[in-house]
Symmetry: C2
Subunit: 272 residues, 2 copies
Amino acid sequence: MTISAAVPSFREGEDVLPSRQARLVYRSGMAESTAGVAGGFVQGNLAILPEKLAASFHRFCQLNPKPCPIIGMSDVGDPRIPSLGFDLDIRTDVPRYRVWRDGEVVEEPTDIMSHWRDDLVAFVLGCSFSFEEALIAEGLPIRHIERKVRVPMYRTNIACKPSGPFSGPMVVSMRPFRPAQAIRAVQITSRFPSVHGAPVHLSHPHSIGIADIARPDYGNAVPVAPDEIPVFWACGVTPQAVIAAAKVPFAITHAPGLMLVTDLHNKDLAVL
Amino acid sequence: MTISAAVPSFREGEDVLPSRQARLVYRSGMAESTAGVAGGFVQGNLAILPEKLAASFHRFCQLNPKPCPIIGMSDVGDPRIPSLGFDLDIRTDVPRYRVWRDGEVVEEPTDIMSHWRDDLVAFVLGCSFSFEEALIAEGLPIRHIERKVRVPMYRTNIACKPSGPFSGPMVVSMRPFRPAQAIRAVQITSRFPSVHGAPVHLSHPHSIGIADIARPDYGNAVPVAPDEIPVFWACGVTPQAVIAAAKVPFAITHAPGLMLVTDLHNKDLAVL
C-alpha cells in the first residue's frame, strides 16, 4: 500500500509536504520501513529519556557527535519539535517505537500516547539515509540498497566518550566500495557532519575490533569483492546500544529502520 | 650551507621574500634539493617545450589535471612568469635542469641560458610539497620525510588521456597512513586541487598495476605497517615519464626534487 493510498483524504498536488504526508500515515497506525519514503527529506533516529537522564544523554551526544549528531530535541514534556516538522507529534508520528525498561525492550507499539510523561525529553539524531542519498546522487552504488537488505552494522572497539550512565562501544555501518569510490565517498559524506559525516575507518576490520565482516552484529551481511574495501561510518544504532548497556529504568526509541520523517531537506544539511 | 649564508648580501630582516632569496641562490649556481626550502611557498614541477608541441602538452595537462595541474606558464619565448614570482627567470632560477632529446636526458645543467630559444614555452605544475605541508600542519606523519628519503613513486596501469604525442601511464606517489589518518588525508588534500588534490587510490596496490610496493619505480621504498594502508596520489613525475615516452625531439624539465620555488603561498591554494 502506498502512502497516498493509505490516506485517501490526500489528493495528488495537494499542498502538503511528502514528509508530513508520511507522518500522518504513520500517525494513523501504519508501521513499515521508512527506507525510500519522502525522498529528499531528512529522517532521524529517536531517543526519548526522562529529564533526570536527559542532561547526561545530551552531553553524551555532544561528546560523540559522529554516532550521535543531534538534529533536533523537544522541550521537557512537550511532544512537538517544530524545528523538525509542521504539526509533528513525537508520540504518534514514528511508524514503530521501542519501549525500554532496565535496558530491555518490553514493547514495540505504533504510538506512545500511553507512555508519554511530563518529564520526557525527545532527541532526534541524524541518520545515514541522508548521506546515502548524496552518495547515490553522485553515482556511487550502495550494496545493501541494491540487494534490498538492511545495512550491516558492527560493534567496534572504539569507545564512546562516557557521560553519566551512558558509555559503550561505537557501532558502525559498513558499505563496500572500490578504492576510488571510497575516496569520493569520504569527500561527499564530509559535507554532511550532522548525519554522521566522513567515515571513521576503512579497510582493516580487525583494527576496530570486527572479527568477521561476514557476521554483522545488526542488519544483514553484504559481500565485499576482492577489489573493494569495507568503509565504516559511525552509526545511529550506537545510542540504542548505549541505552541498553546503561540499563536505564526507562527510555523510548524508534524501531530500527522505522525512522522519524522530518520536513528538513537532506541538501540543506550540506555544510559546503 | 644555508641559503642566507650562500648569498652574503642578504641580511636578516631584509625585505626579500624567502622564495625569491632561494631563486637568487639557485641563479648563482647552487644545485641542491629544494625540500624544506622557503617553507610556506609553493614549489613547482617544470616542463619546457617548443611552441610546436606546447599546444598538445597544454591540452594533455588540461585532460589530466590530477597529475598535471598547471599553476603557471610563460608566453612563447619569454623566460619570465610574473604570476609565479617577482623577477623570476625560468632559465636560471631552478637549481638543476634536465635537457631531453628524443626522450633521453642528455644534460643536467644548473642553468639553460645556452639552450633557451625564442619558440620555447614553460609550464609550471603543482607539486606534492604543498599538500605535504598541509598534512604535517594537521599532525599527520609523512613517512618518507621522517626517514629523510624521497617519496616512493610508481608507474600505474591508469592511462592518462592522450593528446598528440603525449600519452602513457599515470605515475603516483605513495604515503602510508593508518585508516583514520587516510580519511583525514583525503579531506585535507581535497582542498588543494592545484597540487594533485585528493588521492587517486588507496589500499590494493595490485588494482592499479603495482606489483611490489617495496620496489618503487622512482624515489625510495618506505615500509607500510600492518595496521596501515598505502595511499596514492597523482604525481608530478607523470609529465617527465610522458615526455620520455613521447620521445619528443627537445624538452627541458627540472631535475627531480630540485623544483622551481615560487612566490605563491601554499595556503592560498586551498579552495575551501
